[in-house]
């Protein structure tokens, strides 16, 4: 069942791309395009929620191996970053919770946003946001989490600035994206410190090596990730 983890963030990503490209090329526009857009968004996220629930059930039944490695993405000297996911524990529980909530949000928004200017843009960004959040919680390494983190940050900006003709919306969106950069800096330093002190950026390896870190090292890494989470 570990293989399902790939589809959980992938389905909303595909939905975001289909809606985004369809809208860009004028295939999904206006009120006639609302039904396909809504269908794509809802089905992809609902499927993602079902898959994440299956993953959770499988994990609870003890059928998951705990992680899935799809291969090497980047290697440089001692640094190697894999495309890997965690398929057990709080990661899966969070993914299931998030996918279910996202399904409800999309279901509500389909009715609420009907005939609203920017309907298609909203669903494209919301699906991308969902994909990024699922990537964030399921990624097996800090770099993958950071990617999800960044994409969800951009999506937050785009969603807050949804009504971009209103100065207040754009001002708040800009404020958020700037503040998020502080978190980014802390996140990147945290990743760097992990690598310097443990030679790995995989969450499971980091967890296993936590005991070997000195109090100062552990505190430094924890502070960086905490700061990132706080802002």
């Amino acid at each position: 069942m570990d293989g399902l983890v790939v589809l959980v963030p992938l389905l909303p990503l595909i939905a975001a791309l289909v809606i985004g490209i369809g809208h860009l090329f004028g295939l999904l526009t206006g009120v006639p395009g609302e039904e396909p857009t809504a269908g794509i968004a809802l089905w992809s996220v609902a499927m993602s929620a079902l898959l994440s629930l299956s993953l959770l059930t499988s994990d609870m039944a003890g059928h998951n191996s705990g992680s899935l490695n799809l291969g090497l993405w980047l290697a440089s000297d001692k640094l190697s970053i894999n495309v890997n996911f965690i398929t057990a524990g709080i990661h899966v529980r969070l993914a299931a919770l998030f996918a279910i909530v996202l399904t409800f949000v999309i279901h509500f928004s389909i009715g609420y946003m009907h005939r609203e200017a920017g309907f298609h843009r909203f669903f494209a960004v919301l699906c991308l946001f969902g994909s990024a959040m699922l990537m964030l919680v399921l990624s097996g390494n800090a770099v993958g989490t950071f990617m999800g983190w960044e994409i969800s940050g951009v999506c937050s900006y785009l969603l807050i600035a949804y009504a971009y003709d209103r100065p207040n919306a754009t001002r708040n969106a800009t404020r958020v994206i700037i503040i998020n950069r502080i978190g980014d800096a802390a996140f990147i330093i945290g990743i760097g410190l992990c690598f310097i002190w443990t030679d790995t950026v995989n969450w499971l390896d980091l967890a296993a090596m936590a005991d070997r870190l000195t109090f100062g090292e552990a505190t430094g890494i924890a502070l960086c990730f905490s700061l990132a989470a706080c802002v």
Partner: protein, 1096 residues
């Protein structure tokens, strides 16, 4: 000081006319958005409002042009409108050619239909380079004119090509060259990339052109000319402080620091607290004792927000502020050096910066008695005193930081008189009109020098450069004529008139100037009323033709001895389809229309209400109260009912307030309530119908229903004027008689007469009350129908009615019901009181009404996007029911969005017409109203209600952002009294976008079936009606009840006869045969009566 206070009071009183008059959103009452301007004629009022706020009172011209393209405005409408609205003779010949004559009408028509505005250099370059504007005929030139332009010209030997693109290019190029030639222009427009900076020679040339063209002293140097120009600008800007600008606006323009943005959150916090109607846990301490301003002032020293400590000299400014808000306003205005003559304008401008909040404070000040439980008194003086205090605090900070001066008009004037260059640089930079290279220099200089006290030479050099740039074509300046203005406009005009070079060559510059003058004499402000007239005419002509064709036709010609039922609905245009379907289903049904409070003006207190609410038009102050009480023998059920109600109230309180307010227990409550709340939330989202059913069942189990009756009888000895509970028998008879005679329902009474009030129920809809009955003060009218029916069924009242010549047969029963215009469901009242002998008749009536509900729902569904809902009437009915309880639904119904006209007359004139839910139908029989008193009363009560609804929809549609409250999506309910966008916007008044998106914005056509003499007499007697009619806020027409002739009232001209066309109206067997397949507004048609006997 006393005279100063009086001046402030006078200025504040005047604000009542310009601020939004909308009250708390839970009691939404439609009203004319420009109520303060209603004493002016419509067009003058719109012009006055535009000059004050910059908001235009018409649909954008492009929208009208789109209507013209769609055929919604015909050529005939346009021509008629031009004739009616233009003072100049339209047939006057402006240009005479050998083969063509151009009249003023032709030029005006082109100006109406096509854009003839000047364009910028960049737009011109785009047109030339990307759209080939100098080689091809303009894209919007119609084919017929295009053919005229490109037709081969006999004897034209110059043209190298005689067909195809080559011909087109030649024709257009030569036309362009000729236009430029006639205006002495060359087309040397520099490319934008070459205009990033000016070379000295160009700058000198352009500046000299400007100096030659605009000043009498061409010998002035650039610097001198700049100083002179800047001095004038400074004086102009200073003169605007007051009527057009506040001091914070002035400083914002010169510093880029918008202090209002800093003040706004503070103001909203304070206003939200004082206006709160049940959300806030904490209110401003002592506000009810001290009033808003004093309480705020007293609380400042203890404010947890540390904003004051960041401000300069805050304590001394606060110490200077008097205790009284009026004194405080005067003191601050004096401190800011605002001349006394400008105080009214200054205060108006301050109030208009947040019109929603100012309007709500003003409403509360003028309605101190409502809503019950209002926490504290407040007034506009409080609000403006706080605003001015905050203004002074922040302006003082900004002025001292930047210029080291006090924030006052005099000190600012003195400072900038000495530092003109700085004024000019700052003004140009913060207006945002400078090109990037100059803006960059200005920003650097401001950062480096701060003020002109330092680096004076740099300031002067930069201001000279800016002035030089302003004189260049890039800034839109130039000599007498310019390529992008006069050249371009005439070029387009000639193409649309179908004039070629050969024509233009025969013209002199004098002709060209003449044409430009014609265009200047016909600006947008003149064109828009013409468009509106044409738009309205189109609908009016269709409606009049329908009424004309329906005369003595259709169902009303058939005499039904005694109808099976008479259903009296509210005059509301939404009931038109319901009534039509009922009559279509069974011609033995009659429907009638009256103002939905049915003549019962009362304060009504339901069995669950804590206080009474007035149920009547807002202009009436009811002095009779009606109570709903439990029937005798229901004591134990009532106790259980109240217990259950208390339980739900506590639960709601725990869910919606306790969790926010209680520090210690909130966590426990969340843990306990979360699972239930989650289930409810998921059910709302995924299965709203099931959830509704379950919660209704649960509610009925816990909050046991109790049978009720009305207390509406008063002691017959009671005095006539005393406010009291109930009506005497005589008063009841008078009310019942009044309504029946007003409708003309005095002859045959059906066994069942159904009084059908209306209301609307929807979820997650802050504007729900806006869908309720306007004649009931924006509330549901069910209790009025119930009281009326109960009165009309009383033997005492019937015998009094018989004595007054209005006998109602014993076998006639008045039933009461309420139609939900959102879900199309009908709630019946007091069914157990219906006599046994009439139960069968009533059951048949109820069944037919049930069928009409479904058909009406189906007709409504055609305007929604959900096509599936149209499959069968039952599906449509289910669909509208679903809309009513769906939390996601932002368009539960379209409310009054279809309103366009009001018909006051016999139903026979409109019965059998498909009026598309667009016409208020008020029953009135002129034959029973010899002296016109009934009509006068109808016009006085229904007129303002209809006009208020129509005008609110009109304004909210034409500019939804300014007059309406924008889209519902970002709306937040604020303190249960209004909506805001997010958390820091103005309070949004007017109607949301979703309520007006299908509305056709035009003034109400009021059609009265009565003699002209009667209507004319009423018009002369009643000033309030004269204001509406003579001011053209509504359009009045009269149909003669005997001859059927229609006369239109035209302000300034009186009644003008309307001439019917020859066209016959299409006929359909059923309404749905016509409307199915259409989702837009459709013109009236005739619904043919069924064959004799069918449906009877």
């Amino acid at each position: 000081m006393e005279s100063l206070r009086e001046r402030v009071v006078e200025a504040l009183d005047h604000l009542d006319h310009i601020l939004p008059a909308q009250g708390p959103i839970a009691d939404f009452v439609h009203h004319n958005t420009l109520h303060g301007y209603q004493h002016l004629p419509f067009e003058a009022a719109l012009a006055a409002f535009e000059s004050l706020t910059g908001t235009r009172g018409y649909l954008p011209e492009n929208q009208f042009r789109e209507y013209h393209r769609q055929g919604r405005i015909s050529e005939e409408d346009l021509s008629d409108a031009l004739v009616c609205k233009c003072a100049e003779p339209l047939t006057e010949v402006l240009l005479q050619f050998r083969d063509r004559t151009i009249h003023r009408h032709d030029v005006y028509r082109v100006a109406m239909l096509y854009e003839l505005q000047p364009i910028t250099v960049h737009q011109f370059n785009w047109n030339v380079q990307e759209l080939n504007a100098l080689e091809t005929v303009q894209e919007d030139v119609p084919d017929s004119v295009r053919r005229l332009l490109l037709a081969p010209q006999a004897g034209n030997t110059e043209a190298p090509c005689r067909q195809g693109p080559c011909l087109e290019s030649g024709v257009i190029q030569r036309l362009w060259e000729t236009v430029l030639n006639k205006l002495d222009l060359d087309d040397g427009i520099p490319h934008p990339e070459n205009m990033l900076d000016l070379i000295p020679e160009e700058a000198e040339t352009w500046l000299n052109r400007v100096l030659t063209g605009t000043t009498k002293e061409p010998a002035l140097s650039v610097h001198q000319e700049t100083r002179q120009h800047v001095m004038n600008s400074l004086h102009e800007l200073l003169a605007q402080v007051g009527d057009s600008m506040t001091l914070s606006g002035f400083i914002s323009l010169l510093s880029g620091v918008d202090t209002f943005e800093l003040i706004r959150p503070q103001l909203m916090r304070i206003c939200g607290s004082v206006l709160d109607a049940g959300v806030a846990a904490w209110h401003l301490p002592d506000c009810d004792r001290l009033g808003l301003y004093r309480a705020w002032r007293a609380s400042l020293n203890f404010d947890a927000s540390p904003f004051l400590y960041e401000l300069h000299d805050w304590s001394s400014i606060l110490e200077q502020s008097p205790d009284d808000p009026l004194d405080a306003i005067a003191v601050h205005l004096i401190a800011l050096d605002v001349p006394e003559t400008r105080w009214p304008g200054y205060l108006r401008r301050l109030a208009l910066e947040l019109p929603g909040w100012s309007g709500m404070i003003n409403w509360r000040q003028r309605h101190a008695e409502c809503p019950p439980g209002a926490v504290a008194p407040c007034s506009l003086a409080d609000y403006l005193a706080i605003r001015l205090t905050l203004d002074r605090l922040w302006l003082s900070q900004v002025c001292l930081e930047i210029w080291k001066i006090e924030p006052g008009l005099a000190s600012l004037e003195s400072y900038f008189h000495k530092n003109l260059s700085e004024f000019f640089v700052r003004e140009q930079l913060f207006r945002g009109e400078l090109p990037e290279y100059l803006a960059h220099q200005a920003e650097q200089l401001i950062e480096r020098a701060g003020s002109e006290r330092h680096h004076r030479n740099d300031w002067q050099r930069l201001s000279d450069r800016i002035r030089t740039w302003q004189s260049s074509p890039m800034a839109g300046q130039g000599s007498k004529f310019s390529v992008t203005d006069q050249g371009w406009r005439l070029f387009r005009l000639f193409q649309h008139l179908g004039l070629r070079r050969e024509h233009v060559e025969t013209l002199t510059q004098h002709h060209m100037i003449g044409l430009l003058r014609e265009l200047a004499a016909f600006p947008g402000a003149v064109r828009l009323p013409v468009w509106l007239h044409a738009y309205e005419r189109n609908y009016r002509e269709n409606l009049f033709q329908a009424l004309h064709c329906n005369r003595r036709q259709g169902r009303h010609g058939r005499h039904v001895p005694r109808p099976k039922a008479q259903v009296v609905c509210c005059m509301d245009e939404r009931e038109e389809s319901f009534r039509r379907h009922l009559e279509e289903l069974d011609p033995a049904f009659e429907t009638w229309g009256a103002a939905g409070f049915f003549g019962i003006a009362m304060n009504y207190q339901g069995v669950d209400d804590t206080y009474a609410t007035p149920l009547c038009p807002v202009l009436i102050k009811p002095d009779r109260k009606v109570l709903e009480v439990a029937k005798p023998g229901q004591g134990s059920r009532l106790e259980a009912h109240r217990k259950g109600r208390r339980f739900f109230r506590r639960l709601d309180d725990a869910l919606y307030h306790g969790l926010r307010r209680e520090l210690l227990t909130a966590h426990l409550k969340i843990d306990f309530l979360a699972p239930f709340s989650l289930c409810g939330f998921l059910a709302d989202l995924l299965l709203p119908g099931t959830r509704r059913w379950i919660s209704a069942r649960m509610r009925r189990m816990i909050e046991v229903p109790v049978e009720t009756e009305l207390v509406f009888n008063a002691d017959n000895e009671a005095g006539p004027d005393a406010p009291r509970v109930g009506f005497t028998d005589l008063e009841q008879a008078e009310r019942v008689e009044g309504v029946l005679r007003a409708m003309g329902l005095t002859g045959v009474f059906a066994p069942i007469v159904c009084m059908m009030a209306h209301g609307s129920t929807s979820q997650n809809n802050p504007h729900e009350a806006a869908h309720d009955c306007g004649a009931c003060g924006g509330r549901q009218g069910g209790p009025n129908a119930r009281v009326f029916a109960a009165m009309a069924n009383r033997p005492e009242v019937r015998s009094l009615l018989a004595e007054r010549g209005l006998p109602i047969p014993h076998d006639c029963w008045f039933a009461a019901a309420q139609h939900d215009t959102c879900s199309d469901s009908v709630t019946w009242y007091d069914l157990d009181a219906i006599p046994n002998a009439l139960q069968t008749a009533f059951a048949r009536v109820r069944e037919q009404i049930g069928r009409a509900q479904q058909l009406s729902a189906r007709e409504r569904c055609r305007r929604f996007v959900s096509v599936d809902a149209l499959a069968t009437p039952l599906q449509s009915y289910r669909h509208v029911q679903h809309r009513a309880y769906d939390y996601r639904q932002v368009r539960p119904e379209y409310g009054h969005a279809t309103n366009a006209a009001a018909f006051i007359g016999r139903r026979s004139a409109t019965r059998g017409l498909f009026l598309d839910r667009r016409v208020f139908l008020i029953s009135y029989d002129a034959n029973q109203d010899v002296d016109g008193k009934i009509l006068e009363n109808i016009l006085l009560t229904a007129g303002p209600v209809g006009a208020g609804i129509n005008l609110e929809y009109y304004f909210s549609t034409i500019d939804n952002e300014r007059f309406g409250c924008g889209t519902k999506i970002p709306h937040n309910i604020t303190g249960l009294f209004g909506v805001m966008e997010g958390v820091s916007s103005d309070l949004r008044t007017g109607l949301p976008l979703q309520m007006v998106e299908i509305h056709e914005a035009m003034r109400l056509q009021v059609i009265v079936e009565a003699s002209m003499a009667t209507v004319d007499g009423i018009y002369r007697r009643q000033e309030s009606l004269r204001e509406l009619i003579a001011g053209a806020w509504v359009h009045l027409s009269v149909i003669d009840p005997d001859s059927g002739e229609i006369n239109r009232f035209e302000p300034g001209r009186g009644f003008v006869p309307w001439r019917p066309g020859n066209a016959m109206l299409p006929g359909y067997d059923k309404s749905e045969d016509y409307y199915l397949g259409h989702s837009q507004a459709i013109p009236p048609v005739i619904i043919r009566p069924p064959e004799a006997g069918a449906g009877l």
